[in-house]
Symmetry: C2
Subunit: 248 residues, 2 copies
């Protein structure tokens, strides 16, 4: 019964290549799986994954809660469909330029996607679903560095490295903007509340480096840190390191 669920979800993921094999007996469904998935994506875009619920998806479509379960097996499978769906919403551009430009393209594509759909970073599935758009994506990423001189193993590791770092950087960036906009508190207000206690509690001079580096960062950026500059900085270092690997 577990494996039936896997079957069903895989069929839904690959529904475009498989066609829609629905038995013809009963009433037709009022919506398509696509419409359900898109409604779900809209909810997640607006409210994030923790606040994403089956009821909200149903409400958005004008269905009652339990009807959603005739379209998809459950919440986590629906999230799997959403992930593969957003991975297909932009064309994968052909790779151009040298290795550096190509990997920058790969990273920036992920960076943009994470910012378009921040809930992607909140998805925690032990085993990823293998869908068409995710498969295309992985192939495309490997194509970016094919022929550059890496072993097959290194190709895997290089993409993992760039992808992992990009996800971490995007996480920081999104956390920063979420904080800025949604929490009613500005950075300044937050410090005004924290400062009195912290001054009382932090031994003066106990954190010389934090103080020096913190004020340097605070002056250079406007905020406490600039995530998009951290991303560029980190990516540059990583690409330097990867190029160095090819010069061995």
């Amino acid at each position: 019964m577990e494996s039936q669920n896997v079957d069903r979800t895989l069929s839904l993921l690959w529904r475009r290549t498989l066609g829609t094999p629905q038995g013809s007996r009963g009433p037709k469904q009022r919506f398509s799986v696509d419409e359900v998935v898109h409604a779900a994506i809209a909810v997640a875009d607006e409210e994030g994954l923790p606040a994403f619920s089956m009821r909200k998806v149903a409400d958005r479509l004008g269905l009652k809660l339990m009807s959603i379960y005739t379209y998809v097996p459950g919440r986590s499978e629906l999230i799997g469909l959403m992930v593969d769906e957003v991975m297909g919403e932009r064309e994968l551009p052909p790779h151009q330029g040298d290795l550096r430009e190509r990997l920058t393209g790969v990273a920036r594509q992920m960076w943009d996607e994470f910012h378009r759909h921040p809930w992607l970073l909140q998805v925690e599935e032990s085993r990823p679903w293998i869908g068409p758009n995710g498969s295309d994506r992985w192939e495309w990423q490997l194509a970016a560095i094919e022929g550059a001189g890496f072993t097959d193993l290194e190709m895997d590791q290089v993409i993992t490295l760039v992808g992992g770092f990009t996800a971490a950087a995007a996480r920081a960036s999104i956390a920063a903007s979420r904080t800025a906009e949604q929490s009613g508190m500005s950075d300044l207000e937050w410090w005004e509340i924290n400062a009195p206690i912290l001054e009382r509690v932090m031994p003066p001079g106990a954190y010389p480096l934090s103080g020096r580096v913190g004020t340097a960062a605070g002056q250079e950026y406007n905020a406490v840190g600039d995530p998009s500059r951290s991303f560029s900085f980190g990516l540059d270092r990583i690409l330097d390191g990867i190029e160095a690997l090819l010069d061995r």
Copy 2:
């Protein structure tokens, strides 16, 4: 009333330097805040953050649910206390060796900590609480690269880079072991269920690179990917890139 909450939580975070200023009127509390925090950490270690609930913390202490709220303001504040607590559970060793060894030490300390307490990666707080152990940690990380020749801004960015990558690598590693142990399915069984459909659905030859690289990785490692080798590989590239920055 929001800011009262901040006040209260900061006082709890810095409780060791502040002393315990509890009013003396009513009955004494049966436990200390430390005991509550440690019980909470035990629950999170065993079950992860999604399954972590106030009720389970209460049960573990022999308290009833609502009594926990006399110790800490709420769930998310308790998680803030847990985070700072685990950041203090290991001595921060003095830095030794060259830049490469020092940064490796910083990364490995985080790597170990994430594996000791995987739920740290599931904490999503827009604004981090500033506690004593987190502050010490940040100062210690900066000390690792103080005097190496970076500007203050670069120091911030270098630590952010190493920390972000380490978190991403640990996330992959933990996801892999969670999958292996807890989901009843082995990698093999999982493929046995997925393969029939995927073969039917993936156009043959559509994913040449994925196939080649995937089997290379699968043969070299035993599993689909070896997270700890990906970590070493990535860290080496990053350190190469950082050293190159100093040679400019």
